[in-house]
Amino acid sequence: MSSPTSPPGKTSKYLPPAWFRRAIESARETVVFTDTGRRIIYANPALRVSHGYAPEEVIGFSSTDLFGDIPGNPDDLGPKIAEEAVGGVWRGEVYNRRKDGSVFPVRLTVSTVYDADLDILGYIGISTDITEEKRREAELNLTLKQLRKASDFKGEFISTLSHEIRTPLTSIRAFSNILLTMGDRADEATRREFIGQIHAASERLNGMLNRMLELAKIESGEMSFNDEVVNLTGAALEAVADMQGLALEKNVAIDLCNPPLEVRVVADRDRIREVFLNLLSNAIKYSPPGSTVSIELGWKEKGKGAAEVRIRDQGPGIPDGMEETIFERFQQGDRSGENGHGVGLGLAICREILRHYGGGIRAGNGPEGAVFTFTLPSLT
């Protein structure tokens, strides 16, 4: 910063009437006069609030001392402003520097001051601190960006959803239509078969709706969690028992590999079982007949308070590059909602439940098939 020099000799020429001076001194905006060489010859008391300087401190400063060398300001800002202000006015937003070195944005208006002979006496700069304004603007931009993203997402969601709904709906329409058309001509077996198809499709729709509502509830924080101490081994055992029917149907074995008697976590028992059920039904769904789904249960590192569960299948594995996206809504390995109960919401629900408890889930491929690993903070 250049050292203040004494005001130029012509100072008296600028001395305004007392009332005028009072007016300028009362202004909330920072008012700075410079001479033609852009040296400050006057600053009003607002400068103390905006820049941290007493007005007399800056007399003799170059105007550049207030805004020079700040990244974000154009180079040669001082001369540029002076050049453009001649014959008119310069308006813009620039950064200024306070006495303590901190930088802040201002809205600045610079006009040229002429004497009666239209000779240039100097310049008057009026500036307002717009830090708060900028902050709000940034906030608003962020909100806008989020809104746009949400809106894009909504559009995409609705289009996927319509697709997912249409598949079972087509079944319902087609089979009910045939039944109506055939009337009495349909024999009992056919009628039963078609009604069965209609029922299965409506069950799928109902399941999908429930899962969507559940996911929305978890995401909006409206889901109530009844937390208690839960033995993960027990939850796994219960889920295995629940899945036994599906496993038998598909001729898939479920192996709970040598678990500890007890892995204690604090969580909602039903939600934890749901995580197991979702992962197991997925694993069974993609398992070839005669294969095994295995559950490994333990700790990430013993004594570190993080339980880790690994569910492996011997299926085709997760397609390359989908390890992350399968946790998004309506993302499935094979994109068909017809061959299983899942419609691509199960993994999204699992992830939300685990995140709620400070845990997480990841997917990958092992030597034989897909591997899902989830973690949960544990008591043991």
Binding site: T233, G234, L237, P260, E262, T380
Partner: protein
Amino acid sequence: MRKNAVILAIDDEESILTLLGIHFRGLGLALETAGTGEEGLRKAKALKPDLILLDVALPDITGLDALQALKEDPELKRIPVIILSGYPLEEASNVFLEAGAADYILKTVRIRQVIEDVLSYLPAGENQ
């Protein structure tokens, strides 16, 4: 022969009883279960098992009370009692061992290890 051995597990957590049951039955051993201390003592008297697995935290009486009751009964006091505990505390372990427990096994131990440990306490076991 160990094949005819009867094991009584007293624990209020059903999944632990289920897990123990699956593994013992897989070895051809009979597992009897009880969910409370009172039921456990009753079954112990009636069955005279070869070994008792006892949880430290039961819903009615404490595991220690149950252990003492077993050890005070002249008909039952010779049956080895293995304590199952979720608490890795040496003090707790000492209290049970002094009260006559054969062993103090943590529930964080994996099931196969638990089974192996338990088998070593069975009288006339092949592994002894």
